[in-house]
Amino acid sequence: MDNLSSLSYFIPELTLTVTLLLVLCSDLLHREQEGLDFPAWLALVGMFVAFVAHFGLYGKPAVSLFEGMIAHDPFAVFFKGFFIFCTFIIVLLSIYSSEVFYYRKSEYLAILSAICLGMCLTASSTNLIMLYLSIELMSIGSYLLAGFARSGGKTDEAAIKYVLFGAMSTGVMLFGMSILYGLTGTMDIAGIRQVLFANVSSDPVVLLSFLFVLVGAGYKIAAVPFHFWCPDVYEGAPTPVTAFLSVASKGTGFALLIRFFYRAMLQPAGEGTWSSLPAIDWMLLFAILSAVTMTAGNLGAMPQRNIKRLLAYSAIAHAGYLLMGIAALTSEGIASILFYLVMYLFTNLTAFLVVMILVNRTGEDEIPSYRGLWQRAPLPAVVMAIALISLTGLPPTAGFVGKLYLFIAAWHSGLYWLVVVAVLNSVVSLYYYFRIVRAMFLETGPDTAISHQPVYETVLVLLAAPILLLMIFFGPVLRLAQYCAQMLP
């Protein structure tokens, strides 16, 4: 489809662009204040409009936009909604956060909108150049936000580590893309598949180039062995930014991985299954990656004393669970990833919001400071417990349903050993998640009550309610995930 007629499929992104520009301009005309000021309103309204606009895209037929640069399909629309919703919540969290400079808030919000735009584009790109540019758009913004905290020291370390790891891994990814271009002579991802499968190429260079691209995606989702930045960056970055990285950045990594891998390296073989090139066993590769990632994440989380570091290792473990869906090599696997991401969005944002409330009021993010939280701040304590149960994957929470579907998808593909490893890992994770629950409910701490912004109570309830509701009413979301597992062929 040509450029002009593509625009009607591009409304959420256009809204984000306009929001970004307006927020930047409002910074010039307006003196920033603490709390919900004009730029913050602009950003919230912009995100809201973009989110509403994205629903209009579900009804439109799947097409290729902008001369084959970008795909419009249910898969892309799902991720657009995911990223915009997540950014909206993060804007809401950041406004009252004491960790972000209020007098640089417009700058912060503009960068956040730019990252969101980059993420939306990453999920829909079907051309290597476009894919790389969108990833860079989101990465560069993320590097800036990681160093945005008021306190120096750790936040600088976080930003520098994030930049160095990021530059290295996107560089390797670009190298992999250039090899692929050299092998196939096309930048179009579906075109790459055509050439690879037409020549039934079992060239080891194909595997190598894909592994290079995997470095870039693996870095975004924090899969072992590209996870080293994760604990340090999560600890040093301002908490709202950490929450954003842990949910939206991981989502982008999976969108990139699924779009690239399923479109370039696999061929649909009917009835929701995919076949790979004869010489390469992708299933085994992803299964091993998944098993190693979840085990390393869970074992790493055990000795942690800092809650943000603990949640960082937990994020690594969850990347491992999510990779099971990719290892399945079926549409069912993709659908279970999408469902899991929805549940992960609510769960992780809830957990990080509680962490943020505590950091704002007490400046503490060590686990012992959660002692007796039940008496000091009942609502955050209860909500945190729900989030941790969901992260463990126990009923009655959405985490249980999410994990169940991932396990079923892996089981249907014959990865029995991987399911066993994942179940064992979930048992291990019970130990460190419930250490926090025990500290909150069974141990006693100082008597001082922790007050917080009244708006947070509403946000906490709104974020935590879906965790419980998704356990019972998972049907609609699951159907949505199954529908959105469709990509342009």
């Binding site: 002009l4 520009l21 930047l24 301009c25 910074d27 010039l28 400079f101 007098y103």
Partner: protein, 126 residues
């Protein structure tokens, strides 16, 4: 076939002879007064050799980035101007939206004072 390249060979030889001849002539006629600064490797306004951990002003980057933005803008303007006649009004509007977005960037750095080399120190309001 190879005769076609004869001109290039001649050009190459003349070029070498021109440079070599000039250097030799210079050597014969110029005064010889070497001193350390003169023998240094040329680097614009900087000491060419030193420790790698020197701090230099972050504002160099800002100026460089502003330069790149408008450099790229011109890069896009040239091909647009070449085919402008065929594209018509649509291209005109499209390019002005692009320029408008870049102008927002210019307005931003201007208002924030990044076009002044000596930047007023920004202090947080309490």
């Amino acid at each position: 076939m190879s005769a076609q390249y004869a001109a290039i060979l001649v050009f190459l030889l003349v070029a070498i002879a021109f440079v070599a001849g000039n250097l030799i002539l210079n050597r014969l006629f110029r005064p010889q007064r070497p001193y350390p600064q003169k023998l240094n490797t040329y680097e614009c306004g900087e000491q060419p050799v030193g420790g790698p951990w020197v701090r230099f002003n972050i504002r160099f980057y800002i100026v460089a980035i502003i330069f790149i933005i408008f450099d790229v803008e011109v890069l896009f303007l040239f091909p647009w101007a070449v085919v402008y006649k065929d594209l018509g009004l649509f291209a005109f509007v499209e390019m002005f939206i692009f320029l408008l977005i870049l102008t927002v960037g210019l307005a931003y750095v201007w208002k924030k004072g990044h076009l002044e080399w000596v930047l007023a120190r920004r202090t947080p309001r309490t």
